[in-house]
């Protein structure tokens, strides 16, 4: 027996209100820490301690400007950009070639090799960090961006290959045949047809690699002994210990460190979300 119309409508309204309330609370939970950081940078440490929840008395961004005027911030930002760029170029380049081979070529041991890469998904950098430190030192890359970019790229290969392979596989065989008939080599096919057609997937894995490299902390911590090479995460941690009692200033630096990532995120959100769901759910 269907429920009476009034009860039904009431249940519907309650359900919707509950839904809205939950989402509001969750959204607030996410926003609060970020707003705290941004606003905190505009206030005084003493103020923050006395009244954590309040608007700045003076909206002029003193500390922000100070940090933006410091050489340290820009140097660390630059280092982060270098590391992220090198890492992404290497990992996407190598993974694309490997994914292409896995997707469209046959060779002995293919499935076993693929499994070998897939296993890499469950080994984070942390496990190999000590030998990596020795290895990087032996290669003379201790205070070089390559010392971080190379291992990061290697550890990023599994996820990238897993995401790219289905995309490469989906390109119709007819296209490949047509290319062959036209005298195109396998590499030519890869370079001139597969890659351009896979631009969305390539964008996704590139974005994922950039985010991963940008936020990396452990590897840079171990590899960069000279503060010249520090990336933003290292810089933030150091800044916080250096100015440990100056909460406002630390918050300002922290905000300036997360803003690039957020801006990038807003621009590239579709790529990040799309790629993760494709790779994680289907790959």
């Amino acid at each position: 027996m269907p429920s009476a119309p009034v009860e039904h409508r009431l249940a519907h309204v309650l359900g919707t209100s509950l839904r809205v309330a939950v989402m509001f609370v969750v959204a607030a939970a996410i926003v609060v820490p970020l707003v705290y950081a941004v606003i905190g940078g505009l206030r005084d440490t003493g103020e923050i301690r006395n009244r954590p929840v309040a608007l700045p008395s003076d909206w002029f961004p003193h500390k922000y400007l100070e940090i933006l005027g410091s050489e340290t911030y820009w140097r660390e930002l630059f280092n982060s950009v270098i590391v992220a760029t090198i890492t992404t170029l290497i990992v996407v380049g190598l993974a694309a070639m490997a994914a292409f081979a896995f997707a469209r070529m046959t060779f002995p041991g293919k499935e076993k090799l693929y499994t070998l890469f897939v296993l890499g998904l469950l080994f984070p950098v942390a496990i190999a960090i000590l030998p990596l430190f020795i290895l990087v030192r032996q290669l003379g890359l201790l205070d070089s961006p390559l010392g971080v970019a190379l291992p990061l790229a290697a550890f990023g290969l599994p996820l990238t290959i897993v995401i790219l392979r289905p995309f490469f596989r989906a390109i119709p065989v007819e296209l490949e045949d047509a290319a062959r008939i036209d005298g195109c080599s396998a590499f030519g096919f890869f370079w001139r047809i597969v890659l351009p057609l896979s631009r969305p997937a390539l964008a996704t894995v590139a974005v994922l690699a950039i985010v991963g490299a940008w936020n990396a902390f452990l590897l840079p911590l171990v590899v960069f002994s000279s503060s010249d090479q520090w990336t933003l995460p290292l810089g933030v941690m150091n800044f916080s210990t250096q100015y440990t009692s100056d909460t406002a200033r630390v918050l300002a630096f922290t905000t300036l460190s997360l803003v690039p990532a957020l801006i990038f995120y807003v621009i590239a959100e579709r790529q990040i979300v799309g790629g993760l769901t494709a790779g994680a759910v289907k790959g």
């Binding site: 939950v22 941690m237 759910v281």
Partner: protein, 286 residues
């Protein structure tokens, strides 16, 4: 494909193998590798209450993630799985914490959680002053606090994965259930959730692996303290391997972590995900 393999072998496979070798020595990373001590490092690790504590902390985080974080993400995904104004904005918002570095997240929360800081004063403003604790300084609750921070960062990630899985479920199946007289709850329990199984299993797997190698966040908020109450296997390893220069011992703990991750992966594949991945890794054209 060869360059990728070579690169992978040098920077991933080789170090893992090297860790196993180093773990059999007492070594400070500088003098030649000569002090062979067999499995002594492993004995030391497995009998060190601090290390065992670290393992238990990882385990607790895993349990909390499985029984709180994932159901929460699932619930949110179910709530968000319908068209309504502002849905895209919410999706954007909920996933945002994922792109912020763990150390930055940890730092901000640490500042929010100082005694009489933002969190404490907010609680008191709402009359909940009795709930105030030493969030990061009380050994008995520091892990729970860390768990909340971890959840803040990653629940959006799991929610997005579940949303994608939900959208893969054909409408017709759910509609058929409604036509057959199933209530919304019944539909969710008997149709949606089972069909969402593979997705949930992926989320669970990623969550476990993530919890096992937890480092950045802990290092940024508590460095494993107070009094080792929030140590994870990874912070322990870095403390001994890098800070105290005992690379042999540190490598042993790394290998233990590796073995655990490996066992989890194997068991998971065999018993949980077998039906999901069976086709993906073996059969199929190429």
């Amino acid at each position: 494909m060869l360059p990728a393999l070579l690169f992978y072998a040098i920077f991933v496979l080789l170090p893992i193998a090297q860790a196993m070798v180093y773990s059999l020595f007492k070594w400070n990373g500088l003098k030649p590798l000569s002090d062979f001590i067999g499995l002594a490092n492993y004995q030391k690790a497995l009998s060190d209450p601090v290390f065992l504590g670290a393992i238990s902390h990882n385990a607790l985080i895993i349990l909390l993630s499985l029984f709180i974080q994932i159901p929460f993400a699932l619930g949110l995904a179910l709530l968000l799985n319908r068209d309504f104004p502002g849905r895209a904005v919410l999706r954007l918002l909920f996933f945002a914490p994922y792109v912020i570095a763990e150390v930055i997240t940890g730092l901000i929360f640490q500042l929010m959680l100082t005694p009489d800081g933002l969190v404490d004063q907010t609680l008191e403003a709402f009359g909940l002053g009795s709930l105030v604790r030493l969030w990061l300084a009380d050994p008995s609750i520091v892990l729970s606090t860390l768990f909340v921070i971890i959840s803040w960062k990653y629940f959006g990630f799991h929610m997005i994965i579940m949303l994608a899985g939900l959208q893969d479920i054909p409408r017709e199946v759910e509609e058929a259930a409604v036509v057959d007289g199933a209530s919304r709850n019944q539909t969710i329990r008997h149709i949606t959730l089972p069909l969402l199984g593979p997705t949930i299993r992926v989320s669970v797997f990623l969550s476990i692996i993530g919890a096992l190698q937890l480092f950045d966040l802990v290092w940024a908020t508590t460095k494993g303290g107070p009094v080792n109450a929030s140590n994870t296997m990874a912070t322990y390893m870095i403390d001994w391997g890098i800070r105290r220069n005992q690379l042999g011992y540190g490598s042993a703990t790394a290998v233990i972590l590796f073995v655990m991750a490996f066992i989890v992966a194997l068991l998971y594949q065999r018993f949980v995900m077998r039906r999901d991945i069976e086709g993906a890794l073996t059969a199929g054209p190429g």
